[in-house]
Symmetry: C2
Subunit: 300 residues, 2 copies
Amino acid sequence: MHSIAIAGLGRMGGNMARRLVARGVKTHVWNREPERLAPLGAAGAVTAKTLTELVAAMPAPRAVWMMIPAGEATETLFLGLLSLLQKGDLIIDGANGHWRDAVRRAEKASAAGVNFLDAGVSGGIWGLEKGYCVMAGGEKPAFAGAEPFIKALCQDGGYMHCGGPGAGHFTKMVHNGIEYAMMEAYGEGFELIKASPFGNMDLAGLAGTWNRGSVIRSWLLELAQNAFDKDPRLEKVSGVVADSGEGRWTVEEAARLGVPAPAIAAALFKRFTSQDKDNFGDRLSAALRNEFGGHGVKAR
Amino acid sequence: MHSIAIAGLGRMGGNMARRLVARGVKTHVWNREPERLAPLGAAGAVTAKTLTELVAAMPAPRAVWMMIPAGEATETLFLGLLSLLQKGDLIIDGANGHWRDAVRRAEKASAAGVNFLDAGVSGGIWGLEKGYCVMAGGEKPAFAGAEPFIKALCQDGGYMHCGGPGAGHFTKMVHNGIEYAMMEAYGEGFELIKASPFGNMDLAGLAGTWNRGSVIRSWLLELAQNAFDKDPRLEKVSGVVADSGEGRWTVEEAARLGVPAPAIAAALFKRFTSQDKDNFGDRLSAALRNEFGGHGVKAR
C-alpha cells in the first residue's frame, strides 16, 4: 500500500493517527465532524473533510482504516468507501464489530476487487504511548498490505494474522470476553477484602504488592492500583458497568459452539444486574419470598 | 531477629531457603525427611535433623518460617516449635492455611510470649529467581521481626503488612480465589478460539500477541504461552484441575460476608466438575431428560 488513512478520529482513531504520524508514516485522516481534523492536521496528518477528498488525495493503492463505532456507522462508511475506492485498494475495519459482519464485508469488498481486513485493536487510551495489540483476519494480500501500518501501530510482536476473514474480530471478541471475567475476578476479590475483618487494608498498596511477584499480576491490576490511588475506596465511582456488545457475542458464541464459559457468562450477567439494580427477576424473588413465607417486601 | 530458619523444604520452602542463602542471609533449615537437607547444606544453609537441634543452633531471638502443608502437618509443627522456642522468638506460618487458624495460633503463641505472623506466599516455582510476593498478617512486633527476611525473599515492593493476625492468610486466600477465576477466564477464551471456525490458530502465538499491548496481558498469560509452546494443543494434559482449599474458603467467605462472587464460584465449581466428570448431578439431569422426554440415556 502506498498510503494509509484513518477514518474516524475518536479516542482510538485519533490516537492511532497520532502514533502513525509520530512513527513517520504519512497519514491521511477523515472524520464526520470536521472539528476533530484541525488538531490532527497540526500534528502532521493530511486532513480531508469528505471521503471523496480523502480518497482523491491518497496515492493508489490505498489503505483506509475505519475506526468508528461498529454497526450502522461502520456499515455506512464501508459502503461509502467501497463506492469510492479502486481495485487493489484495502479497507481495514478496526471497530469492535461482529465477526460475521466482517465475513460479509470481506465478500462484498472482494466482489469489487477491494481487499478487506478485520482488525481488532486492544490497548485503550494507553496504546498511543505503549503501542497497540492488533488481531487481524483476512486473505493474505489484505494482511500483507496492512502489515507495515499495523507494525507501526503495535508493540514489537503485538500483532497477529489470526486467520481468514472474521478471524480478527472473532479473536478480539474472545479477548474482550476474557477481559470481562478478569475484571470481575478482581472486582470480587477486592470486594471480599473490603467486606472482611481486614477491610481497612490499603487497596492501592495491595494491588501494587500483588503486581510485584504474585501469580495474579497483570496490566488490569496496575490499572486497579491507579484507580485506588485516585480514590482509595472508589467513593466517586458508581457501580454501573456498561457493556458494549463483545461480551454478549462471546456468550452467544459459547452457547452456539457448546463451549462452557461460566465465568465469562457470570461476569456479563453481573454487568446486566449492575445496569438494572432493581431488576424484575429480583422483584419476583422478593415477591415469592413474601408469598410462601410472609417475608416482608420492600416497597418501590 | 538474629536468625532465620525455614522448616519444610518442599518446592516452596526449598527455593525460599535457596533465595535467602543467595542473598547472603545465614539460613537454618529443617525437614521431616532428612534426605532433603543435604542439597540445602551444600547450597550454604545450616542443616538440622531435629527441631531441637534446629532451635539450639539458632541465636535468639529466632524466627522460624513454617513452610509445610496447611492443616494437621502445620499444626503439629507449630505445637512442636512452640514447646521449644523462647519468649521473644517468632513463628511465621507460610502455608496456605485458613485465616482463622492463623488467628488461633497467634493467640496461642502470644500466651507463650512468642510472636506469630501469618504470611501468604505467592510466586510459585518462579519465586526463587524473580522474588516472591508476601502478604503478612500479625501484630507489629511480629512483622517488624520478619521484615528483613521477607524483604530478602520478595521482589522490590512485593510484600505488605496487611493487618492483624489472619490478614495475611485471608489476603492470600482472596489472591488464590482471583487466580481461579483468571485461569478459568483464559481457559474459556482459548477453548472458544479452538472450537471456532478459526480453531487452527497458533495459540502460543496468540498468547504472545495478547501479552504485547492488549488489555488482558498478565503473567498467567505468559505461562499459557509457555504451556502452548511445549504442547500446542495440550494433547498431553488431561483436563482434571485440582483444588487445594483456598478457592473453597474464598467462596465460603463470600457466602458468609454476603459478597457476590459468581466468577470465582463458577471457576471453583467448574474445577469440581473437572474432577468428577461423570458427576451425580449430570447423571440425574440425563435421567430426568429420559423420564420426561424419552431422550436416550448413555449407559455407564
